[in-house]
């Protein structure tokens, strides 16, 4: 495919990154200050990239819709961050981390990118430790590791249950240092609403100040989008309330290809929603499945409390179906089976939307104190949210959307198909293939921001030496500003009857029911016809109260939901075209007799990248073939 040049360097896998760093164009240290870079988003990827670029000498402008860079949703990651340091001496290596990540991604990621990720992961741990991230330590004062997400080696570094928070604070503080030195200009409570291009290249963005409503242009030599994933397309997810796809989607509409939108990850152990107005789902650590037994009443109209259901009338569906792995089957298998039993009417809780995760056997076996020591925090959290005591009543759990592997298509340099526009972290599609391993999200965000982008961006910037950024008085900017303020006025003028949240909820239901854990042709076609219909209603009946001249959260949300509508439709199309099951994408038509995901490596071992064709037009699907030279493709089985 000539359109999608991945720019993967030549040479043996282990030498590709070194070769590339040598061949990539460099900007002379004293010239770096002549270049301006815009970074949108201040999560792990954005904050680390902005800080690192600024340390190198570039002039950086950073934008976040939050009131402080430290609020970005990377902060909520609990588990840890992987690196092949091999401190425990248990046989880990860069190649093993690479191999596990490619395999975990169900062979739908780019080998060279993943290998580079595994290579720089070690540097991330060094960097973060030096920044003062209080990783867990052993009594000897050295770093502790744990095994995570079913990995065969202990390679996960962690800081209590708050690894994401600590890593983000580390990156935020590095950014704060650059702000204090005057190299970074920080814009808080400022949302990017348009990407601006001139002569085919990204040259700036248009933003709205969320407090004053001012719509403004910012120009630069390059634009970096580090705006996270699109899990909130489901309405209910473990993402933060403000997480959105707007920055990425506006770039897509300007020509950046969107890759693999159908790859979404579902996390099996979340607390089920308690009513229709639930705003978000809370994730609980997967480690609970180590000791909890998952079951539902065998009869679909059993209304008794859990304690009154005799052993013989309980359906331990995972243990029965997968005797070898039992309750420890992978995330997607656990999630899908939960959906199957709930759809068949076995669900528990007053909305019948969960399955039991029962610790009574574990408490009997190990004693209450042991269970308390292991899971006390999680049990407290559960009790705080549900008001039920999980020591005496089984927990109720249900899967929820957690992470999105799809995102803007990027080449080996992390540049999108728009020259000068980069995408890093969860916002791009690059490293996780069709499924992400536990403790790899933090790794990828920081790898991109600290160690990849600062090198690769030079390739685009070096030839521009001497060129000033396009002035914001240029018509490309004034037109873009006009477009954004017209859109604002349009939303404020609809004056319909329903709130933005109402439409978002309805959209979420369509997406969850039809493009959720298990997909099939009919459902996907339903989604493709229902979503535009709801979108039309949305455009004509939404009510955005207030004005555009001050803080107006309805106005912020309406644009984000509008973009989710378009993305949801693309997700359905992508899922429909991907005639196989792989990773986070499960097509009911493509499964083995045991109900396992069945890949089609013959025809589907490629990245699907979609090109925007204009309002109301269906996007064009482009293909980047994936070549596997270093790993052998295998089909997994958990029987």
């Amino acid at each position: 495919m000539s359109l999608l040049n991945s720019k993967v360097p030549s040479g043996p896998l282990a030498e590709k990154w070194d070769n590339h760093k040598f061949s990539v164009k460099l900007v002379n240290p004293s010239n770096k200050r002549k270049f301006e870079v815009i970074v949108v988003g201040t999560g792990l990827a954005g904050a680390s990239a902005a800080a690192s670029l600024s340390e190198l000498g570039y002039k950086v402008k950073v934008f976040t819709y939050s009131d402080s860079p430290r609020r970005a949703h990377s902060i909520a990651a609990q588990g840890g961050i992987n690196a092949a340091k091999n401190y425990p001496n248990d046989g880990d290596s860069i190649f093993r981390l690479f191999y596990d990540t490619v395999k975990g991604g169900d062979y739908r990621s780019r080998e060279a990118n993943v290998y580079r990720l595994a290579q720089v992961a070690n540097d991330i741990i060094d960097q973060c430790t030096a920044q003062g991230v209080p990783f867990a330590r052993e009594y000897g004062g050295l770093l502790d590791n744990r095994s995570f997400g079913g990995a065969q080696v202990s390679r996960t570094f962690y800081a209590r249950g708050q690894t994401g928070q600590q890593l983000l604070i580390g990156a935020y503080q590095a950014l704060a240092r650059q702000i204090a030195e005057g190299n970074v200009e920080l814009h808080t409570r400022t949302e990017m609403l348009e990407l601006v291009k001139k002569d085919g290249e990204a040259c700036g963005i248009v933003t709205r100040d969320l407090i004053t409503g001012e719509i403004k242009s910012h120009s630069a030599h390059a634009v970096v989008l580090a705006t996270g994933g699109y899990g909130n397309v489901f309405y209910l997810s473990t993402n933060a309330m403000a997480c959105n796809t707007t920055a990425v989607w506006r770039a897509h509409r300007k020509g950046a290809f969107f890759a693999n939108p159908c790859y979404t990850q579902i996390h099996p152990t979340c607390i089920p929603s308690s009513d229709e107005f639930q705003s978000k789902l809370t994730l609980m650590s997967e480690s609970l499945r180590n000791d909890g037994r998952i079951w539902v009443p065998r009869s679909d109209d059993d209304k008794r409390p859990a304690g009154q259901i005799p052993e013989g009338e309980r359906y331990y569906y995972l243990e029965e179906k997968y005797p070898a792995f039992g309750n420890l089957v992978p995330r997607d298998v656990a999630s899908r089976n939960a959906k199957t039993v709930v759809d068949a009417g076995h669900g528990v809780g007053h909305l019948e939307n969960g399955v039991y995760l029962d610790f009574s056997d574990a408490i009997q076996r190990d004693g209450l104190e042991t269970i308390k020591a292991k899971y006390g925090n999680l049990f407290d959290m559960y009790e705080n949210i549900t008001g039920e005591d999980p020591y005496s009543v089984p927990m109720r759990i249900y899967p929820a959307t957690h992470y999105t592997m799809g995102g803007l298509w990027v080449d080996y340099n992390l540049m999108t198909t728009i020259p000068g526009c980069y995408s890093i972290g969860e916002a791009n599609f690059s490293d996780h293939g069709a499924n992400r391993l536990g403790a790899s999200a933090l790794m990828q965000g920081l790898a991109d921001g600290y160690f990849v982008l600062p090198y690769t961006i030079g390739d685009h910037l070096a030839p521009k030496l001497g060129d000033d950024p396009v002035p914001t008085s240029d018509p490309v900017f004034t037109d873009a500003v006009q477009g954004v303020s017209d859109a604002t006025d349009r939303w404020l003028g609809v004056n319909g009857s329903r709130s933005v949240d109402w439409f978002h909820r309805e959209l979420g239901k369509i997406v969850w029911d039809n493009i959720g854990m298990e997909r099939n042709k009919a459902d996907l076609e339903t989604a493709i016809s229902d979503i535009p219909a709801l979108k039309t209603e949305f455009e004509n009946d939404v009510r955005v109260p207030g004005s555009g001249a001050n803080l107006n959260s309805s106005l912020e949300k309406v644009g984000r939901v509008a973009d989710f509508f378009e993305l949801a439709e693309l997700m359905a199309r992508d899922a429909l075209e991907r005639e196989e099951s792989c990773g986070g994408h499960f097509r009911a038509e493509h499964q083995t007799e045991e109900g396992e995901a069945k890949r089609d490596d013959e025809n589907m071992a490629h990245v699907a990248a979609w090109e925007w064709n204009g309002e109301g037009e269906v996007q064009t699907r482009h293909v980047e073939e994936l070549v596997f030279e270093n790993v052998e493709l295998t089909q997994r089985s958990y029987k």
Partner: protein, 264 residues
């Protein structure tokens, strides 16, 4: 249904602070709220109130919030005079309505302090916290310059204490709850985090001096009431403040001494 997850329904009256903008004068609005399930979170209750307001053609209540799992630190309102509400060690988003009784009047106010000017309704500007961090709340290490992570062993106790302090989410409840609007708990937690670690020693005295002095440009003076720790959703200890006070005096002496050595 199997007995679990029963909900009670509450009818409440909200007395909410409404203020159109930073320079507008605000006042309380009384809003009756009906049919609130007690397993909703406080912010979900506000969501419902807002949805009702929108349907009736009004302007919804603005409030800060994001992750809704108690870690981002964006949310935070005074509920009946309590920062983050009546439950200890909890953020507003993790506060559930079962902590209230049917028929309650709930007074909802923004954080109040000169350092946290109100932007609109319940939203305040907490950027002075960022300024405090910018003035020294970091360990200066450029990307790529770090030695191997295991080069410097850190005693487990020091690491654990640093982590206790680093758990701060920067929500501002400490300032809001403080009768003096002092930011000692936030600043001292940030200082303890780095001053306890070997990695943070090189800049320890400079960091302490600068962060304390930046803090004092925006916030009041601590009188050791201890309200901050009580309000803190992460229950950060007052010991950090004592530690900061001790380090601040040392910093005044040591910073001079260092300068004296470098420039005799």
């Amino acid at each position: 249904m199997s007995g679990s997850g029963n909900t009670n329904v509450l009818n409440l009256t909200l007395k909410v602070w409404r203020q159109e903008g930073p320079n507008a004068t605000g006042s309380f609005d009384s809003i009756p709220v009906e049919g609130i399930a007690d397993d909703m979170s406080f912010l979900e209750m506000l969501d419902i109130v807002n949805e009702q307001i929108i349907e009736q053609g009004g302007i919804p209540i603005e409030f800060d919030h994001d992750c809704r799992e108690g870690i981002c630190g964006a949310c935070g309102v005074m509920i009946n005079g309590n920062a983050h509400g009546p439950k200890k060690g909890t953020t507003t988003c993790q506060l559930h309505m079962r902590n209230f009784e049917d028929g309650d009047e709930i007074v909802v106010e923004p954080w109040r302090a000169s350092g946290f000017p109100i932007m609109r309704d319940l939203v305040v500007d907490r950027s002075p916290f960022d300024h405090i961090v910018e003035s020294g709340g970091y360990i200066s290490v450029n990307t790529g310059a770090a030695p191997d992570a295991n080069l410097i062993p850190v005693p487990k106790d020091a690491s654990d204490m640093a982590m206790d302090a680093a758990a701060c989410i920067g929500c501002g409840a400490c300032v809001a709850a403080c009768p003096n609007s002092a930011a000692q708990l936030f600043t001292s937690a940030k200082l303890s985090h780095m001053n306890l670690l070997p990695q943070g020693q090189a800049e320890r005295w400079k960091r302490t001096e600068q962060m304390v002095e930046t803090m004092e440009q925006f916030f009041g003076a601590c009188t050791n009431h201890g309200e901050c720790t009580e309000a803190c959703p992460k229950e950060i200890s007052l010991d950090n403040i004592a530690f900061m006070n001790r380090d601040y005096l040392k910093s005044k002496v040591k910073n001079r001494k260092l300068t004296g050595q470098v420039f005799p």
